[in-house]
């Protein structure tokens, strides 16, 4: 296959990533959210592996492997377990209704593309055009964190943001140095564990995972 085909496929995967981001924004059920998160990770793995293959950047294979293991297999599995254990797979009611969220999301995507335009012109990689998408993924994930009330969707939002950042790194400069990536992967893992401990604690204290209860903690 020639480089143009690769580029086409990478662009397709990038579009998929963005689509999944929107899907996550509109998904009401936690189980669905986790599945979407796993799919996002899969798309990321595929695109990273493809970039590694087409440009000969071998360390990206490791990145792809880490992404596959952590974000496609380990974490979704772990989240499913938590959901089952805490029995919280009900409809998530977002703070702002879904259509409005989607509209804000579209505005953010336009903003991100605008922002990425001058930067991607400076970048010399084969997939520079995808920077806008990566940035949009970050912002959409952030938006998801803001609009969700429950703790688990927020953590998934946080991880999705990390996905976007990872994608941005591969698209602008063929990924970060492996050491940094390993560090980030470790951080994400630790964050998930710490946050899952918090899930149980919050649940135990407030009898619910709804974060509005935490307002009580504010000092008057």
């Amino acid at each position: 296959m020639s480089l143009t085909y690769h580029l086409q496929i990478v662009n397709l995967l990038a579009a998929l990533l963005l689509l999944i981001s929107f899907a996550m924004l509109s998904q009401r059920r936690i189980a669905g959210l986790i599945t979407l998160f796993a799919w996002q990770g899969a798309a990321l793995t595929a695109s990273t592996a493809l970039v590694a293959w087409s440009t000969g950047q071998h360390h990206l294979y490791y990145s792809a492997a880490i992404t596959l293991v952590l974000k496609v297999i380990a974490m979704p599995w772990y989240f499913f377990r938590i959901v089952k254990k805490l029995d919280v797979d009900r409809d998530v009611e977002p703070m702002i209704n879904i259509p409005t969220t989607m509209l804000i999301g579209i505005v953010l995507v336009i903003f991100a593309f605008n922002l990425a335009l001058p930067i991607s012109e400076l970048s010399g990689t084969v997939m520079r055009s995808t920077l806008g998408i990566a940035l949009a993924c970050v912002l959409l994930a952030f938006l998801m964190m803001i609009t969700r009330r429950k703790a688990i969707p927020q953590v998934i939002g946080f991880l999705a943001m990390e996905n976007g950042l990872f994608f941005a790194a591969t698209s602008t400069s063929y990924g970060m140095p492996l050491v940094v990536e390993l560090g980030v992967a470790l951080d994400v893992m630790v964050a998930v564990f710490v946050l899952s401990i918090f899930f149980f604690q919050i649940r135990e204290t407030f009898d619910s995972l709804d974060l509005k209860h935490m307002e009580k903690l504010k000092e008057r």
Binding site: M95, F111, L115, P118, I119, L139, F142, L143, M145, I146, T147, R149, Q154, L211, K212, M214, E215, K216, L217, K218, E219
Partner: protein, 672 residues
């Protein structure tokens, strides 16, 4: 580095550093001895006192030897501690060691009744405090200086809050910490200006940096503010009257006697050593601030009813006198009057040394009274001379010394300072010529009022009749306490009796700063600062005459009167009985001063009803500056933090929106 440390014979600076290490080890060893109260008081504190004595010895050696420096292998990478011991540091080390020895010996007796757990912690902070102060004196780069300065501030904060279970003490400690840190920030900025853009913070490069008058003035003003906050310069003095009563007495003694002097040291170091140029108006400013501080301090000292608060205010007064002397030195120095600058500087250093001794003595004296009676308020004391004669007589020496009576040491330095003031007609600046005699009058007034304050302090606490029946149970101070007081009292007497020797000994310091020394025109017996015709003082002869006259009078009275004693009821002047309530009280004694200077005070009084069977009286004269200056600042700060507090909703979503908005803003900002 170890090789240089073990070179024989080591430089004084390495000895000094070794003693600092010894104190650190001793402090942490105290933590291990937590279980044994006995070992802490019998071993740790006496060893610490020996360290202080050794520091004084190293200081005496350092004043005679040329300056020595050492670079320590500790600190940040590429930023080692530079230490240097020159005559100025050495002089202040003698001051520190001399006063701290007596105070620490005293402490070994004073803390005997303390539980061993808190005592171990206190011993740690105490020795850290000593080590920090010595390191401040030794530091030869801004980094080491600030680290040591902070060690000193923080350890003394923990010492002040020893009784942290009492809310007032926590409050006093917080005030102290706050002002100490405002000052420390100012010092940090001083060093920032002094390094002059080189990025090198050793004092050596600062000495070489060429400063424009503007930046030099900026550095000086920042230093004056920063060191002034530590020294208790009006209006940054508010922490002193709060922190000193809160701290245990040996700690107050150390803070007032020694720690305040590190600020004076810093001011001298920055102004005369680190800065290349000195400007005349700096001196005028310092003189004015010093005089205000002296007068303000002594007025408030006169109206206090709490022993330690009174002494704290008196410390403010003495710092004011020191600062006024500093200002006058600068004025003479910039006017080219080297000999007069040397005279004033000598007076200032002498007074700093004296203050360390007599203020230390007075503070530990109040400590013994506090231990014996459990009260600080003078309205509940009185007549203690009968129950604790050692404390009373030794405190009397301190009180006479601080009151500036010959032949004790307070007289010598104040007399020298007044001599310097009388020399101001030689100045070339006409306005200063006219104004400075007024300054001399204010110094004289402050000195006279200080004597008034001491009459009140000693008279109300030790003389008359006990105001409380429980005072009959008061017990005398223990032996270590007495020894500590004896040492400081002996210092007061000797510094008073041998001024000519002390001044000769001070010469290297004075030469280092003002390039001249004070020439004693008299001889070993007689001190004559300018010329023997003009003014001279021979304390030994004075003392001998006083002693002989007293002795003769005593013998004469014994011989003439006691030969024909007749016992009968005295005429009672219409008072058939006298009780303790008829005596002058602390408030009563200060009343004239309060009347005259009421503008500075906010007086709160509660007077009893004339028909009340059990009359109750209370009065407090509060510092008006607190209400004019500090409370508005506190209100504004509070309001601002409340406004900032509105950002805190307690909802995670809001916090996320904050970061989201910031992110968007930064993205727009950077790509625009």
């Amino acid at each position: 580095m170890m090789a240089t440390l073990s070179l024989l014979p080591p430089d004084p600076v390495q000895w000094a550093w070794g003693i600092v290490l010894f104190w650190l080890v001793l402090g942490f060893a105290a933590l291990l001895l937590q279980g044994s109260q006995h070992l802490l008081t019998r071993l740790v504190f006496p060893l610490g006192a020996l360290g202080a004595l050794a520091i004084a010895g190293v200081g005496i050696a350092g004043m005679l030897l040329p300056a020595s420096a050492v670079i320590l292998p500790i600190g940040l990478p590429d930023l080692p501690f530079h230490l240097r011991l020159d005559a100025l540091s050495a002089f202040f080390m003698v001051l520190l060691g001399g006063a701290a020895f007596g105070i620490t010996v005293y402490a070994s007796g004073y803390f005997k009744s303390m539980a061993s757990g808190p005592l171990a912690l206190l011993a740690l902070w105490y020795h850290l405090f000593l080590a920090g102060m010595v390191t401040v004196l030794l530091a030869d780069d801004a980094y080491a200086f600030m680290v040591a300065w902070e060690v000193m501030a923080l350890s003394s904060y923990f010492l002040v809050t020893t009784d942290h279970k009492i809310p007032e003490i926590r409050r006093a400690g917080f005030l102290y910490l706050l002002i100490a840190h405002v000052g420390a920030v100012s010092l940090l900025l001083t060093f920032g200006v002094l390094q002059g853009g080189h990025g090198d913070y050793t004092f050596d490069t600062m000495r070489l940096a060429e400063m424009t008058p503007f930046w030099a003035s900026a550095a000086y003003l920042l230093a004056l503010f920063g060191f002034g906050a530590k020294a208790g310069l009006v209006p940054m003095h508010v922490w002193l009257p709060e922190a000193h009563p809160a701290a245990p007495s040996p700690v107050s003694a150390l803070m007032s006697g020694v720690m305040l002097k590190t600020a004076i040291y810093g001011l001298l170091r920055v102004t005369f050593d680190l800065l290349n140029i000195q400007i005349g108006w700096w001196g005028t400013l310092a003189l004015a601030l010093g005089l205000i501080t002296a007068l303000y301090g002594v007025i408030f000292a006169a109206v206090q009813s709490d022993m330690k608060r009174l002494l704290a205010w008196s410390s403010i007064e003495n710092i004011g006198i020191l600062l006024a002397a500093f200002g006058l030195t600068l004025i003479f120095y910039t006017d080219g009057k080297g000999a007069l600058a040397a005279l004033t500087l000598t007076a200032m250093l002498y007074h700093a040394l004296n203050h360390a001794f007599f203020k230390g003595l007075l503070f530990i004296g109040t400590g013994s009274v506090l231990h014996a009676t459990g009260v600080r308020h003078m309205g509940h004391l009185g007549g203690l001379m009968r129950f604790m004669p050692w404390t009373a007589w030794l405190t009397l020496i301190g009180a006479l010394a601080i009151a500036g009576l010959p032949p004790l040491n307070g007289f010598v330095s104040e007399w020298l300072l007044l001599q310097a003031f009388l020399m101001t007609p030689g100045l070339t600046h006409p306005y200063l010529n006219m104004v400075i005699p007024v300054a001399a009058a204010i110094v004289a007034l402050a000195a006279a009022l200080a004597a008034y304050v001491m009459v009140k302090f000693f008279g109300v606490v030790f003389l008359g009749q006990p105001r409380d029946p429980a005072l009959h149970e008061a017990h005398e101070a223990s032996w270590p306490e007495r020894l500590g007081m004896l040492w400081l009292a002996a210092g007061c007497v000797l510094l008073g009796l041998f001024p000519a020797q002390v001044i000769a000994w001070l010469a290297p310091v004075v030469r280092l700063l003002s390039n001249q020394t004070l020439v004693n025109d008299g001889n070993w017996l007689m001190l004559a600062p300018v010329s023997a015709e003009r003014a001279s003082y021979a304390p030994l002869i004075f003392f001998a005459v006083v002693a002989v006259v007293v002795l003769l009078t005593y013998l004469w009275v014994r011989r003439v009167y006691h030969g024909r004693v007749r016992r009968s009821d005295p005429w009672d002047c219409g008072y058939p009985e006298q009780d303790a309530r008829m005596q002058d009280s602390a408030e009563g004694f200060g009343q004239p001063i309060r009347q005259i200077f009421e503008v500075f005070m906010k007086v709160e009084r509660e007077t009893p009803d004339p028909f009340d069977r059990k009359p109750h009286y209370s009065g407090a004269s509060l510092d008006k500056l607190w209400f004019i200056l500090y409370e508005p600042i506190a209100r504004v700060t509070n309001w601002l933090s409340q406004q900032a507090g509105r950002l805190q909703h307690g909802r995670i979503q809001w916090y996320l929106i904050y970061s989201f908005a910031t992110l968007i803003f930064l993205l727009i900002f950077t790509t625009r």
